[in-house]
């Protein structure tokens, strides 16, 4: 029982980086811009967050800065793929390598590497937190955990109910049609790319400020790529992406605990589990032919007005 509580109360913390990163990716890609740079936005977010904690000690400021860092880096990406219409695959990968170099340079110059800082406090909801079992799991998490759920709800609302969401979807499905009705393709793509990157930057900030409480080079550790798989698995839909992130969080929080009790399960099998889960999900999605795969129709294609395709 104690094992179960320890495990499940750690799930949200493990799930949030995946959830926020997948959310940011979906926001971006629904506008038709392929985003392979998630790992890079995670790194700049984590770097900015850690730097802010080490210099000011304010988590609030750290998260704002992390989101802004992601957004700032995405302006470069947006310039490349929206204005200059460069290949989105190559531009996305470039962003990753650029962020790796940039963040290690900044950390090295400022002596941030391996320096610990205090992180986030768990919120206390009084009576709710004291409920046995459910209290520590649901009502004793940090603020970003609850913010993540709110951001998902917000994104669903914006995409389903508002004009802005409709237009982002339109430029992602059929930019020519959207353009002909007077919707600015570039404007809405910029909006989606930058706000998506801010969310991934926030995910990165959570990785360093909320979880590890330390910066080391390359600390995103491939989580950006997992988030991309999650987005595909979720067919570019918000709630399934959150569910997928929670599944990943469950496995990530379970792995060290299985090891710490000395359960005789082969090590490499356990470490492989999240990736097996991803593979299975992707196979399952591609086998199910009755449903639309969810890929935005114009994904990955630069928009040039009046170009024949």
């Amino acid at each position: 029982m104690e094992f179960l509580i320890n495990w499940l109360s750690n799930v949200p913390q493990s799930a949030v980086p995946f959830a926020l990163a997948a959310l940011g990716l979906i926001v971006c890609e629904r506008s038709g811009v392929l985003n392979l740079g998630a790992e890079g936005y995670l790194l700049v977010g984590a770097n900015a967050g850690a730097g802010a904690m080490l210099t000011t000690g304010s988590p609030m400021f750290a998260f704002v800065l992390a989101a802004l860092a992601g957004g700032a880096l995405s302006l470069l990406f947006a310039l490349l793929v929206i204005n200059l219409r460069m290949n989105q695959v190559i531009s996305g990968l470039t962003i990753v390598f650029f962020a790796q170099g940039l963040t290690s340079l900044i950390a090295a110059r400022n002596g941030w590497t391996s320096r610990s800082f205090s992180g986030l406090d768990q919120l206390d909801f009084g009576l709710l937190t004291d409920i046995p079992v459910l209290g520590p799991i649901l009502f004793n998490q940090d603020a970003i955990v609850y913010l993540t759920v709110a951001l998902f709800a917000g994104a669903v609302f914006v995409f389903k109910r508002t004009e802005i969401g409709l237009q982002i979807r339109a430029v992602g499905e059929n930019p020519a049609a959207a353009d002909s009705t007077g919707v600015s393709v570039s404007l809405y793509r910029y909006l989606a790319v930058v706000s998506g990157a801010m969310l991934i930057g926030l995910a990165g900030g959570y990785l360093s400020v909320g979880v590890s409480k330390i910066w080391v080079d390359d600390m995103a550790g491939g989580r950006g790529w997992i988030a991309i798989a999650l987005m595909i698995f979720a067919r570019w839909q918000f709630w399934p992406a959150l569910a997928g992130a929670v599944l990943f969080g469950c496995i990530e929080a379970l792995i060290p605990r299985v090891a710490a009790v000395g359960l005789q399960v082969p090590q490499y099998f356990v470490l492989m589990l999240p990736y097996v889960a991803t593979l299975c999900a992707m196979v399952w999605v591609s086998l199910d032919r009755t449903r639309h795969s969810g890929v935005p129709a114009a994904l990955g294609e630069p928009y040039v007005r009046e170009e024949r395709r």
């Binding site: 080391v216 710490a260 005789q264």
Partner: protein
């Protein structure tokens, strides 16, 4: 030819460590000019761990030998990155190239063949030739001593250990850690969690927290970041570090297994300069006496009596005491080292077993 290749392959598979031995007996090597060493680093020179330890050795060696030794950072483990870096150094007249990664092994072997008048040294490498020597430390000695500190500090007798991947050079530190702890507390256990990554603070924190949940009260580590030490500080327990003295990052750290490469590199470069340098056919596998890994000990929490016992044991190791001396039986009951024998270097590199008292998934 095929037969020879197959034999070589099976040999390499059998000895994943510092092998490629048994080729021709090494010829001696001499430099044409005065030595001009250069260092090629895998990551940032102030990464707090592995690379920083090598860079600190570079500065000390340079001072000792009166040389200016340049360094290039962040050279990843692929030929396309290593080759131009090394060739640039060689073009500028540098003739002792020092590498820093397992993943440099193959490229260094090729470069050593192409530049026979340049000496190559590679930390954590696996390849050797007439002018290329890999080197690594016998970290089981330093971790054994840290295990003694941990065993003495623990009240519950339950120690935790965060490791990267369960292969030879990590497994031997885990086993030695427990064997050291049992010198002080014969009932001590070590619970080990592997993260599957060398440099992932998120996974290291999760591993350390899971260990604390299980009631451990001292945490050791063989991963690159000081995260387990920082968790120890947060939870009010003690820890022992790896790579460098991690008390720099955490007040919980009472002892660390530290690299002392300068003690090996300075005399080695002098030997190369003197002419007649002979490469160890299996690479240099350095004990505390040779200057590979040593301990930084002890923190304020370590009582004087314990410190004295650790230091006495360190002297014994320098005088030739063997840690993996028989009889040793593993946790499944298989005899691994017979009475009166000592585990061979090849068996150390392929160690895939744990001694009784190690709690693990294997």
């Amino acid at each position: 030819m095929k037969m020879k290749l197959a034999l070589t392959c099976s040999f390499l598979l059998a000895l994943p460590g510092l092998s490629t031995a048994m080729a021709d007996s090494a010829k001696s090597f001499s430099l044409a000019d005065d030595p001009k060493p250069a260092l090629v680093l895998l990551s940032n020179k102030n990464d707090g761990g592995w690379s920083q330890a090598l860079d600190e050795a570079r500065a000390k060696v340079g001072k000792e030998l009166g040389l200016r030794i340049p360094v290039v950072e962040n050279v990843p483990e692929n030929a396309a990155a290593i080759r131009p870096t090394v060739e640039t150094f060689i073009d500028r007249g540098f003739n002792v190239i020092i590498g820093s990664a397992f993943g440099y092994s193959d490229t260094f072997k090729e470069l050593a063949a192409e530049y026979p008048d340049v000496a190559f040294l590679n930390a954590a490498g696996t390849t050797n030739s007439d002018n290329l020597q890999s080197f690594y430390g016998r970290t089981y000695q330093s971790q054994y001593l840290c295990g003694m500190v941990a065993g003495g500090l623990s009240e519950s007798g339950k120690l935790g250990f965060v490791g990267a991947n369960p292969y030879g050079l990590v497994n031997w530190t885990v086993n030695a850690y427990l064997m050291g702890a049992r010198q002080i507390n014969p009932d001590a256990t070590v619970t080990v969690v592997f993260t599957g990554a060398w440099n992932d603070p998120v996974k290291e924190r999760a591993a350390a927290e899971a260990l604390v949940e299980q009631g451990i009260d001292v945490i050791g580590q063989h991963v690159d970041t000081p995260t387990p030490q920082i968790v120890a500080q947060e939870k009010g327990i003690y820890g022992t570090g790896h790579h460098r003295d991690f008390s720099e990052f955490s007040a919980a750290t009472q002892c660390s297994s530290v690299w002392v490469w300068e003690r090996f590199l300075a005399p080695e470069i002098e030997e190369i300069a003197a002419g007649g340098w002979e490469v160890e056919p299996n690479g240099a596998f350095l004990s505390i006496a040779d200057g590979g890994a040593d301990i930084a000990c002890c923190g304020d929490a370590v009582p004087e009596g314990l410190e004295a016992r650790v230091m006495a044991e360190r002297e014994a190791l320098i005088d030739g005491k063997q840690i993996f001396a028989g009889p040793i039986t593993d946790s499944k009951g298989t005899v691994r080292v017979e009475e009166g024998e000592v585990l061979s270097d090849a068996d150390l590199w392929s160690m895939d077993w744990f001694v009784p008292g190690v709690v693990s998934q294997q």
